[in-house]
Symmetry: C2
Subunit: 423 residues, 2 copies
């Protein structure tokens, strides 16, 4: 039996009971003959409480100190988890990101891992310990300052350690049973996916599926680490994510992996843009200079009579105000007519490598939406994904219609829904 990396999110270790439950599960893996490395997030609301404290002393907390503060959260959970394991009669040692060799760049609050040197973890494992590692944190390569990895950081820690330690699998324990063909809170007949390719998972993650973040899947894809997403509550087999199917997983890939939706975006339309070279570039340079990531972009053919066109793009709602401000400021230079801001939109995406070789998919997708009476406002496609923007009000109905149309509905109402996690 080989080495397993397990990651537990904040909702799995929300209190002493949760920690004891997780400790039992970890010991189970150890008893089954595995070497076990565990990556753990901060307990429940700890991070929010620390953020609240920071805001009480400083309206804009400094990055270095903010990271120092937040990393206290994992320090608490990992030490408690190690204690709970030792209380079950097994040896365990906890390690900070720095001690575990998680080396990052120096960008505080959203550092990127640039190297993993887990010498102390290897030693701890060889001595028979279960190694507990603080998720979400590392140490900067140049200044040796404590850094945090930003959203989804603990998952990324787990995958990065799994890669460095050449683990058999990286198990991501969460509060849902795996990756579903659609959000089970919207589609009661959503099915748990047994296996999904890294490629499809990447598209789902960037289309609004929240179970795994893009960044962590991308890391696992690059280092060819299989991820097993599963529930820390049910103990059921969850969803395997890997570049190729593993062992007994069904070899034939599904046509469609799933339907994702996202209501966190807004749409900005730049109206009356002169249809000449450099205009679109000027608009998107303005937005990018404000450090805003845009998602979908659509430009209509210009009306011959006026020589003017409209350009629409979507972006995170959180950045909406900043983008409108930057564009308004640049209006005299760029020379468009006006701006329209719309945050009542939803994005619905169909993902599946199978659509590469099935030209009918796009047509079926639009038909399904049309039959459900859902109006399409923007369209964008990649080789294995089709996304549309609709009214926010239509999103649930649209997702259900598409899910049914592509034969993804389960025979039973099997989906079990728990709360959501943050980090």
């Amino acid at each position: 039996m080989g080495l397993v990396v397990q990651k537990y999110g904040g909702s799995s270790v929300a209190d002493a009971e949760g920690i004891k439950r997780v400790a039992k599960r970890i010991v189970e893996a150890k008893k089954n003959g595995h070497q076990v490395v565990v990556v753990v997030s901060a307990m429940g609301d700890t991070t929010d409480e620390l953020i609240d404290l920071a805001q009480q002393v400083s309206p804009i907390p400094a990055g270095r100190e903010f990271d120092m503060l937040l990393t206290a959260g994992e320090r608490i959970s990992m030490a408690l988890l190690a204690m709970a394991i030792k209380n079950l009669g097994h040896e365990a040692q906890s390690f900070t990101g720095s001690q575990a060799g998680v080396i990052t760049d120096s960008v505080h609050n959203k550092a990127r891992i640039i190297d993993v040197t887990p010498g102390r973890i290897r030693t701890a494992l060889e001595e028979g310990n279960i190694a507990i590692v603080a998720g979400f944190q590392g140490v900067s390569h140049d200044k040796k300052d404590i850094t945090t990895l930003g959203r989804g950081g603990s998952d990324t820690t787990a995958v990065a350690l799994a890669a460095a330690l050449e683990a058999e699998v990286c198990e991501i324990y969460t509060d849902v049973d795996g990756v579903f063909t659609a959000d089970p809170r919207v589609v009661r007949k959503a099915r748990k996916i047994d296996w999904i390719s890294s490629e499809d998972m990447l598209e789902l993650a960037s289309s609004g599926s929240k179970v795994l973040l893009h960044r962590c899947v991308e890391y696992a894809r690059r280092y060819n680490i299989p991820i097993h997403v599963r529930s820390s509550f049910s103990g059921l087999r969850g969803t395997w994510v890997s570049n190729e199917p593993q062992g007994d997983q069904k070899v034939e890939q599904a046509l469609i992996s799933g339907v994702a939706h996202d209501t966190s975006e807004a749409k900005i339309t730049v109206v009356g843009v002169p249809d000449k070279p450099g205009e679109a570039a000027a608009i998107f340079r303005t937005v990018s200079d404000a450090e805003i990531n845009i998602d979908m972009v659509v430009q209509n053919v210009s009306a011959a009579s006026t020589g003017l066109t409209d350009i629409s793009f979507t972006l995170p709602k959180a950045d909406g105000h900043k983008a409108m401000e930057s564009l308004t400021k640049a209006q005299p230079v760029i020379g468009f007519d006006s701006l329209r801001y719309d945050d009542q939109i939803a994005k619905i995406s169909l993902v599946g490598a199978g659509m590469k070789t099935n030209p009918g998919v796009t047509a079926s997708f639009f038909e399904a939406l049309s039959n459900a009476g859902v109006n399409i406002e923007l369209i964008s496609t990649s080789e294995i994904r089709i996304s549309v923007v609709t009214r926010a009000d239509d999103v649930n109905e649209a997702v259900r219609a598409v899910h049914t149309a592509f034969g993804l509905d389960s025979d039973t109402d099997e989906a079990v829904v728990y709360g959501g996690t943050g980090r």
Copy 2:
């Protein structure tokens, strides 16, 4: 102006308001031209809350993991303090014990500092920063594990850093105005001491005065670091503790520095010990093997008729049960008659280097107690201290009587009393 080390206890940084208040005081010192290093304890009850969590997951938490857990407390307070200082427009960086170069032995929960290598602190100071250092913690020299220093650890951190950085002074900020001639909660007319020798302070600390712990004073004495104990609330000049008087401090030392009392001890009497060589040794070897520190020891002259004697000693109440158990087990071997346990005692000590050259002090001390109707049960003396054990009920009256008899009473009821601190 030189380098100042300031230490703030948990009650000074109990909440966001406290942290902001302390930040202002630190910035004041910086504005006065000092280089400033700050050692900070965990906020208010944080440590107790963490201990409570630990006990929920494990009845006897492992030392290494317990230290990892507890050090999260200072991590939070130091990061918040650095943020609050930056919010006032000054540069600050926080450092863990490990980052600050506090190197300890490997005894978890009560590690001893064996070296301080504050390279990062020096760099931070040279770059114009205020350096904030986590108190109470270090890193073990051999295993690079996180350690904690036990009771009074933050004070010790401050003094050790002051020594390593050759600071002008180590300021210990607390919730009282300084060291008093007696506990102001007992003696309303207790006076704040302007200056006290390290030697006398050591005796007061081991006799029950809680403002400074023995360990921290001993460290400061060895490295000749002046300590200034003062209130973080009032901002008044407090008490200077140093080997020799500093600058304008009055050069002539007082006859008596103060009266200390201690109600945390119990007394064990071993009754009917055969008066022959090796008996006392056997008794104290038994107690010492149980890792119990004893304080006063008194052996009476044996009664000629029986050849038996009684041996009494005092020890922390917390160790009382363990000591009785060990001695009872050893009774058949040692061969004494019986054991008596008494936890209704108090120790009252008079401390002052002046008593070396004033033979009347002992007599005056006993007279004062006798006039107050206080019965003496045990007596023990050193060159600069006399201690007696009395009934616990008599302690307040005894302390007041002695305080008055040696002319220590202030002309006014000046003593201001706040709560007490732990770490």
